[in-house]
Amino acid sequence: MEPTTNQLQEQFQQRIDLEQKIEPRDWMPEKYRQTLIRQISQHAHSEIIGMLPEGNWITRAPSLRRKAILLAKVQDEAGHGLYLYSAAETLGISRDEMYEQLHTGKAKYSSIFNYPTLSWADMGAIGWLVDGAAIMNQVPLCRTSFGPYARAMVRVCKEESFHQRQGFECLLQLSKGSEVQRQMCQDAINRWWWPSLMMFGPKDDESPNSKLSMQWKIKRFTNDELRQKFVDMIAEQIKVLNMVLPDPDLTWNETRKHYDYGAINWEEFKQVIQGNGPCNKERLEARKKAWADGAWVREAATAHAAKQANKKAGAEQYSTKETQ
């Protein structure tokens, strides 16, 4: 007798509770599949769009060393996007469909990449704060319940640590530099701090998808839990830089054993998500242009592959005749 949907759902939840991974061809509730497609593709898009703000500084990096590091980092972001697109594809969505969703604005990407990179210090602040926040989110995802996503995240996390460390080192150097360099460093921190906090998503009581994602162990911690961990970490690390975070309410709370922090401007978050951030239009245009400009390369590669395959088939036919 075929099991009913209810039974399948129950078995599915049991597997999750036993910490068994779900693999692409296992039965899964349609909502689980859709949630994962949304989350993984959004994550992949963020990696790809995330190359743009940093790409802005590759040609203007202050030294060959910094340039090589930045190139390697941006190349990693491309790699991370590719791992994640592959993981999403196992759920039955094609790469082209995902690109289309990105290009038409149907799919979102992390709001942080809609802010401009105004100075070289932004490369440091992005590495330290933005990648730092990303790592907070990503480390628990290495244990997420969907196998291909978890495996992709293990790869991503291995590489992400370099991103954060190079960012901090970049700021550390500026913080020990001239007065102008110190100002540049502080200014970058001021501009990236609040958007970094927004990267963890809406507050728990306003995050509608969270409950189910926790039940399915897609997520392991809530948005606010991760945000708090991040604040606690950065509030200590900034002391090494001798800089300050732009939050007058930031204080150690002895009873909570955590840092208290000021109110986040959720209206700004909403505006950026809705497409009204400083660079939304520019980012999407750059991405669409890259895709359109690359069309002839993709077509040429396909034509070349077909030609080579034909040649090979022809040669094989010929050599078979010869031996007969």
């Binding site: 061809r25 590719l82 594809e89 039955g92 590669a301």
Partner: protein, 122 residues
């Protein structure tokens, strides 16, 4: 030519109905590069292990892309790529029956044999 794949694959393969997925993904072969699975030998003496998948127009490109995507930090010294559609796999829904024959043969394990403690080097 249109090819209807039941599933794009990564880390799990197979024919037959895909879990929970009602309809297959339509892949326009003219436009989209085929999917390849990547296997990497991390060092001499070890097996090639599945690393992930990628799209490429042909095998040469698949190898080069695999190098750039999966071995940027010397993670491999040999790469295999195979078009995903050529991989056959056991059916996860039938895995209980499929692997059942091994379940009742505990005598295949060394711990099945109860031997005196005085017996050395065995």
């Amino acid at each position: 030519m249109r090819l209807y794949l039941q599933k794009n694959l990564y880390g799990d393969y197979g024919d037959g109905h895909a879990g929970g997925l009602e309809q297959g993904t339509k892949q326009d072969q003219e436009k989209q590069w085929p999917l390849w699975e990547v296997f990497i030998r991390s060092k001499q003496g070890l097996d090639h292990k599945h690393a992930g998948s990628l799209h490429a127009a042909d095998a040469t490109m698949a190898l080069e892309n695999a190098r750039d995507v999966y071995t940027r930090r010397n993670e491999g010294m040999s790469i295999w790529v195979v078009e995903s559609k050529y991989i056959h796999a056991s059916d996860p829904d039938a895995s209980a029956e499929f692997f059942e024959p091994a379940n009742d043969k505990i005598y295949r394990h060394p711990s099945f044999y109860d031997l005196p403690d005085s017996l050395k080097h065995m």
